[in-house]
Symmetry: C2
């Protein structure tokens, strides 16, 4: 858990800061696709860092498909759809509105995945899910261990779909929401009172055991809407009020 906290409060290394700066310049439109970045030397002078640091920053942007560097010419901004990775800005997570959007995305992903999981889960999957459920029941409050169990519960369900990409995406989104809640709690301690609703989880588990896709989807949807509400986010989903 110390690891986790260390990862959250990551020290801002120099290359990271340079990359974040350039990334925002691109995101905000100051550097349009096709535009050429300043040379590495210019950047190193501008930021007051060595060329090495600039290179590490550029290497990161290039790995993400944000820019393309061509030897002898320079580095150029690529179109947004050419991104090779999805990366979510930590700063943006501090905005409640973005947390709402994340919950919305999560609801879309997890609800239907729950239906898939219900159709494909096997004994081993159910056992893993049950184990996470039991760990969660131990504590009622929104404690670290309880949150871990909660996330594990959702990851295990995602794994039961047998689709590794679904697992990756759901894990990622859940983790981003975790961070977002983490920030919200720091600025507003009231959230400490929030509890994890075990009953909602049990209903999801039961539906998965029964192998009922529709019930699993409905239970998952209700749970995520409930979870969002408990942290102060209202989810205005059309599907939630029965556009079946």
């Amino acid at each position: 858990m110390k690891q986790r906290l260390a990862a959250i409060g990551t020290v801002e290394t120099l290359p990271h800061r340079v990359a974040a700066f350039l990334s925002r310049e691109i995101e905000s439109g100051e550097l349009n696709p096709g535009a050429r970045l300043p040379t590495e030397q210019e950047l190193s002078e501008k930021f007051g860092v060595s060329r090495n640091v600039v290179r590490e920053a550029i290497a990161q942007l290039r790995a993400d498909g944000v820019i393309e560097a061509r030897q002898g010419i320079g580095a150029f901004v690529l179109a947004p759809e050419q991104r090779a990775a999805i990366r979510i800005d930590r700063e943006a997570l501090k905005d409640t509105h973005n947390m709402e959007r994340l919950f919305e995305l999560r609801c879309i992903l997890e609800a239907e995945s729950a239906a898939l999981a219900a159709a494909r889960r096997n004994r081993e999957h159910l056992d893993s899910i049950k184990a996470a459920l039991d760990r969660m029941g131990g504590e009622e409050r929104w404690e670290e261990g309880s949150i871990d169990a909660d996330l594990l519960f959702h990851r295990e369900i995602a794994r039961a779909t047998g689709n590794n990409y679904i697992h990756t995406f759901i894990s990622f989104v859940c983790e981003q929401i975790r961070h977002s809640i983490h920030y919200a709690r720091m600025t507003n301690p009231l959230h400490d009172l929030v509890e994890i609703n075990v009953g909602e989880h049990v209903r999801i588990y039961d539906a998965l055991v029964a192998g009922d896709p529709a019930a699993s989807e409905a239970a998952m949807r209700a749970h995520i809407v409930g979870a969002a509400n408990r942290v102060g986010v209202k989810l205005p989903l059309p599907k939630a009020n029965g556009a079946k």
Copy 2:
């Protein structure tokens, strides 16, 4: 478009190769979470590259949250759920089975997003979608320009949800599928015969204009299942056969 091709056939730079090697070692389980990586010097000797190259590779892995470097100690492998970015291995895209999984994920994302878009789209959104639709209709064959228009069509619908994360995720998944199909076509030229079904797109657009979430979702789902079939992928989705 030349840019696009250049990006696909990206020259493998040394840091990229080192990062890919380490990444696979972690993915395959040879380096478990918590394990310590060799020192930068050891790695530079092992791969026969300068320490600078190793550092750029490590910077990349660290930015993705795959490893965590701690000054004075070393670099350690993090747990998969701590990843800060989603990145899909290009090699894996060459596997047809993975393409099927991607289509499944795409269907989940886009179907429900289409419902959201139907509820929230405004005039400007509809115009953008229509523009993409018109571009697509010009050519019948699966040509580059037509594919671009197709992807743009889907991106514009994702944008109409008003949720930037949904837009990002859908764009990303679509682009991965594009690459996957690209590879499939190289090894199996038969796929050249595949056409884009304009009718399916029109049905989606009409439902969006009508502002009908359920119809939009159904049309989108049917379209993606159809698109998957046309490239030789069968989607066994429970929702597809009426688990409403």
